[in-house]
């Protein structure tokens, strides 16, 4: 019980501190790291307090301290799984999927015929739920990482496509008229006007896709895999009631995902510095 009270008091105190920090020092570099860190710490303490205070069975939800112990004890497994799932499965699938989506968006955009014909069908095909496709792709591409990459490709394709199509349409009339007076070729208009104007939208899609890529790669492993990989480990460990290991894997996923997202957001900042949503932050 005292654990519970401590956790709640800590939570309230940290929230107050955070609000103050954000108001007073929100624009300073250190605060930008401290505030989310404090927020995260608060969640962890609250979690620890709830688990210990309410005596929740570790088979249902382990406490952060148990997870940390398990994490430290299984770094080898975690590293192996990370390489299998994230580096081989998610990353290659992400690159192929996003690349394909951008290319298809441009193709569709180029031809009104294809646009009218492909977009509805593309919508349809891309809306095939991942969980249905995963077993099929495992069947087609085998048990190793290739099938995981294929699942990721399918999964990231739609969000990137939708955003890219919206982005390619995002130029304003004046910008287009200017190109018309130069009688710019299609490709010139594309590279010099429409692609830059599409970037804020594209990055929207790319950011969403980072998290989808991880999810896709991990989940695909539920449908068949070699005996390594994060999805494999998670499902096996759940079966063995080794929940601390499950959450260690999830921690790895969350860290990798946040890093991945952060990287894409950083590139976005560099590429779309001119967009009001980026300029507002200076």
């Amino acid at each position: 019980m005292s654990w519970l009270i401590f956790a709640i008091v800590f939570w309230l105190a940290a929230w107050a501190l955070n609000s103050w920090l954000a108001k007073a020092h929100g624009s300073e570099r250190w605060a930008r790291f401290l505030i989310p860190a404090l927020f995260g710490l608060t969640i962890l303490i609250l979690w620890e307090g709830l688990v210990l205070g309410l005596k929740i069975s570790p088979v249902i939800l382990p406490a952060p301290s148990q997870i940390a112990a398990s994490f430290a004890a299984s770094t080898d497994i975690l590293r192996e799984d990370f390489m299998q799932t994230i580096l081989k499965g998610a990353l290659s699938g992400y690159l192929i999927g996003c690349g394909a989506a951008v290319v298809v968006a441009i193709l569709i955009d180029r031809s009104p015929f294809l646009q009218r014909g492909l977009l509805p069908i593309g919508n349809f095909v891309a809306a095939l739920p991942i969980v249905g496709i995963a077993p099929i792709l495992v069947m087609w591409f085998g048990f190793d990482w290739q099938s995981k990459a294929a699942v990721v490709v399918v999964m990231v394709f739609f969000p990137v496509l939708v955003n890219m199509v919206a982005g390619l349409a995002a130029t304003d009339a004046l910008q287009r008229d200017l190109m018309a007076t130069y009688s710019a070729s299609y490709w010139q208009g594309l590279f010099k006007m429409r692609l830059p104007a599409a970037m804020p939208f594209l990055f929207n899609g790319l950011k969403i896709a980072t998290t989808l890529a991880l999810i896709g790669a991990i989940v695909a492993e539920f449908f068949g895999s070699p005996t390594r990989g994060m999805g494999f480990r998670i499902s096996t460990a759940v079966g063995q009631l080794d929940l601390p290991l499950v959450w260690s894997e999830i921690t790895v996923a969350a860290l990798a995902g946040s890093g991945f997202y952060g990287l894409v957001a950083l590139i976005e900042k560099l590429v779309t510095f001119w967009h009001p949503s980026q300029r507002a932050r200076t």
Binding site: L114, I130, F222
Partner: protein, 287 residues
Amino acid sequence: MKMVAPVLTVLAAIILLWYGATVWLNSQWTYDQAARAGQEVSFSEVVVDTMNQKRPVLPAPHQVAEGLWQGVFGQKFTSKRSLVFHGWITLSATLAGFALGTGLGILLAVGITHSRAMDLSVMPWAIASQTIPILAIAPMVIVVLASLGITGLLPKAIIAAYLSFFPVLVGMVKGLRAPDHMQLDLLKTYNASQGATFWKLRLPSSMPYLFASLKVGVAASLVGTIVAELPAGATRGLGARLLSGSYYGQTVQIWSALFAAAALAAILVVVVGIIEQITLKRMGMVR
């Protein structure tokens, strides 16, 4: 109407490719079987056989069409063998989850654009939350919720919401920050409240971003629902159909359920698109 010809053309091309792939992917089995039986098969026999296997690697379009037809019209809509019945179960959870997720996403986005503390603390964790493979812990979530007495539509909707809130959040944050300086400055000179700035400037200018995200969001919501249906005692819904199809290797059933789900998603995306068109038109944003 302008759409019919292109769509049909593309459709025809896809079906053609599909038949080709059917032969290519299924022929291995035909050859293996023949070899096991010690027979020779001609190519035309192979083609015929690949189109009508019981457990094809890739079912032929007509097999899927028949499966769909059977699933939709083969029995009463209320029958548990009807795709309409399962589709409805999935749809209701999808919509509930989508509503929850969109609401949450918009709410968080509003908070993030208005409170620096929220911007700094929530966004990184919202991102982290999405990197948790919810699909991996969905079964645990369902178990935990069930032990709290929450069953039925809600657990599925919660998982659907979990997946759909993020695209909405990301798009909405971008959209709410899209107004340019002059547009914001104008309201500043009026000393407009945050509320007025939101309703009269930020919200209208976020619309294109919002709708792009909503389309991704409904699709994600449907995926969430299906994921939640897989292990949730796997009883009803398209997810359960998919699973039992998988479990018994009934490829045609998997593909029928898959197409039903995709059709559902496509319809939802189209509906969002129509609402988008109407809204943007009324806002004078499409010319």
